[in-house]
Amino acid sequence: MTATMRRRGAVLLVGGVAATMLLAACGSSSTTSESSAAPAESSAAPSEAASEAPSSEAAVPAGCEAYAAYTGSEGTSVTLFTSVLPPEQQRYEDAWKPFEDCTGIDIVYEGSDQFEAQLPTRIAGGNAPDLAWIPQPGLLAKLVQAGGPVPAPQGVSDNVDQYYNPAWKAYGTVDGTFYAAPNSSNMKSFVWYSPKVFAEKGYTVPTTWDEMFALSDQMVADGIKPWCGGIESGGATGWPATDWIEQIVLRQFGGDVYDQWVAHTVLFDSPEITAAMDTLAGWMKNGDYVNGGFGNVQTIATTAFQDAGSPILDAECGMLQQASFYAAQWESFKPGAVVAEDGDVFAFFLPQISDEFPNPVVGGGEFTTAFSDRPEVQAVQTYLSSAEYATARASQPGGWVSANSGVPLDTYTDAIAGLSAKYLTDPAGIFRFDASDLMPAAVGAGSFWTGMTAWFGEDAPTQEVLAEIDAAWPAS
């Protein structure tokens, strides 16, 4: 009998182990790289090897003056966990290579496509990275409540005060404690258009809200539908429409009402948001204006946001309100399409509505959050919030944008990136983070999306839609 028992136990154990191993074998993709570990490359680059020598507080090696403040942690390494995968990874590593060479701190980059699922697990398992780029203020707040992130050192705080629009500091702050500075940013307040068509028809880029609608009427008279749009996006259908409302709320009522709206002290079913919906109804729900190349207003609900801009290249649609990252789409409509002020397609700033709220920008970004206060981690965190880092990164190829005003605008090699940075760093501008990303998921990734989709697709009454979005707001 005991033999059976023993055998049974062994078999169960073996089965369990085998199952675990099978599960472990099917992990998710992630990239870890230590390519930039300085010692390995020292033989190839003798001059840099010299800078590797313990410099102590004495003379800083040539070329390393900018990094003098970060020295003192030679031979250490700092892990950085992100959702950004190659080829972007290489551009980051190239950007901070001089920092690594001069300070002797090795930044170990680890990108994962399962970032948001893995980060809380790693923190809970006592295996938190030293640094992570967190894409949403809401996630940062959640992590702080659960415990893990450590407050940012004074250097980071000073950098943000010096270089960033004050709104950014607020988004990196939880319960009065400042945790994280932004890394990259994106800019959502753009209108895409075809410079070629504009030149042909003699249109000029509008700089005020009224001019934009005068131009729209002009296009209607010329037989072109002025606007196109698409909000279909699979499981996230509706998000482009939430962006439109956000643009209008910020332009019509300013940052304070916008913040109250995000905090739900201004309800969706309020005079302000109703007025914003009415403004949107006269714009993207106006049958005379939309939906160029696709059909009636309702097609906005069934058109994929990726496809929405394609009629612009055929002059079937005049303009599309979409974010800076839409720049990557044009190539798929027309191979070799040039995104430039005199090219096939370009973007202009969605004008302000009222002088009271100048240059309103809705955008997003990710935040460099630390989970350790070791000196080398703080050194890297401070460096990543500096103008030197942002400038080095912005000079890499690709459309990377920083809201850091210390980056000279001519650093940007990409026209849209430069234009984005111009508005993101405008000292007089009003910056606000994408509201749906700040709201609770039941609204920001739920009823706000479905409500706007019903408003376009089913012509659901405005008050009904707004009341339903409010009803989904979690009681707390």
């Binding site: 078999v11 089965g15 369990g16 074998a25 990239t31 097609t299 089913e458």
Partner: protein
């Protein structure tokens, strides 16, 4: 280059894991095979059933209990809220629509699939080159729901009626004289049926093949005897064929009903549950993994689970009855 080496390393780790797994299995089988006498039977049972039971307990039974517990908790899964989540399911107007749509799916899609499958089985039974047409009808079964959704998305695609059409259905509608075809996926409540067409398209092949086999398995003497008694056409079909394949019909129906209860991919790809087409499974996914409300997601899962139980029970009872008859 670096990616290649790290990729190779990963493949190596994977292969090693598989090799160790197989080695362990071989050891277990070896030990099991050496058992003699009284131990032989229980040892064999443990060797063959043990891993399956462990995996089932870990992957199915434990989650079932955890999900049921989760359905009585709040969004974060930390505080008990009693029946609040179920109250939300059965009282919110949008959820009533979800339940109604799911009920429509369960009733219409399986009945139509089975009826069409039966008709096709009967028709093709007398055709030459039966296998070719059968293969063609069965082929959609090999396409995933997501793939089918994308294909039919192109069929239902809407463009301004004045311009060129890229949607097949709109173009056909225009050819037959419908000047202003609707935007099919927005046309309530018919859009629900347009989505069901996809499910039926996939399931008809399955129903046809299984029912055709059952019809062919009816003993020739039974049919002959019925014909000698004067039964032909409809009478032969309704009094002889149907009763003879009754068990298979029930299996086909319940299998499709269970598939329909889980319908998620089609709705997600085509409309994401917008425009009044939401169903329970897609709402469950949205609540759990888009809005991160674990409580509501679990409650919806429990509703689905409870709805499946009577079907499975009926299926099992029917199979048992048949066994006793034979």
């Amino acid at each position: 280059m670096e990616e290649v080496t790290s990729g190779l390393a990963k493949i190596g780790t994977g292969l090693a894991a598989v090799a160790i797994f197989i080695a362990l299995l071989l050891i277990v089988f070896f030990i099991g095979a050496r058992a003699r006498g009284k131990l032989q039977h229980p040892a064999a049972m443990i060797v063959f059933l043990g891993p399956a039971i462990v995996l089932l307990a870990y992957g199915l039974i434990a989650p079932a209990f955890l999900t049921t517990a989760g359905s009585f908790k709040d969004a974060t899964g930390q505080n008990w809220v009693g029946l609040a989540n179920f109250g939300w399911i059965f009282t919110t107007p949008s959820n009533r629509e979800v339940l109604l749509n799911t009920a429509l799916w369960i009733i219409i899609a399986p009945l139509v699939s089975t009826a069409l499958g039966l008709t096709l089985a009967l028709l093709l039974d007398r055709m030459r080159r039966e296998s070719i047409s059968k293969s063609l009808i069965f082929m959609p079964m090999a396409i995933s729901f997501v793939g089918a959704g994308i294909i039919w998305g192109l069929v239902y695609e809407y463009r301004d009626p004045a311009g060129a059409q890229i949607g097949l259905l709109s173009q056909i509608a225009q050819w037959i004289g419908m000047e202003d075809p609707p935007n099919w996926l927005l046309w309530q409540p018919f859009n629900n049926f347009f989505l069901m067409v996809i499910m039926i398209w996939i399931q008809v092949g399955f129903a046809m093949v299984v029912l055709s086999a059952a019809i062919k398995a009816i003993p020739g003497d039974v049919v002959e005897a019925a014909e000698l008694d004067g039964a032909t056409g409809w009478k032969l079909f309704s009094r002889v064929t149907i009763p003879m394949i009754r068990g298979t019909l029930i299996v086909v129906l319940t299998t499709i009903i269970i598939a329909v209860l889980k319908v998620f991919d089609i709705v997600r790809v085509m409309t994401n549950g917008n425009f009044g087409t939401q169903v329970v499974a897609n709402e469950m996914y949205a609540q759990s993994f888009v809005q991160f409300d674990v409580g509501r997601g679990s409650a919806l899962a429990v509703v689905l689970f409870v709805a499946v139980i009577p079907l499975i029970a009926y299926n099992v009872i029917q199979l048992r009855k048949e066994r006793t008859i034979r």
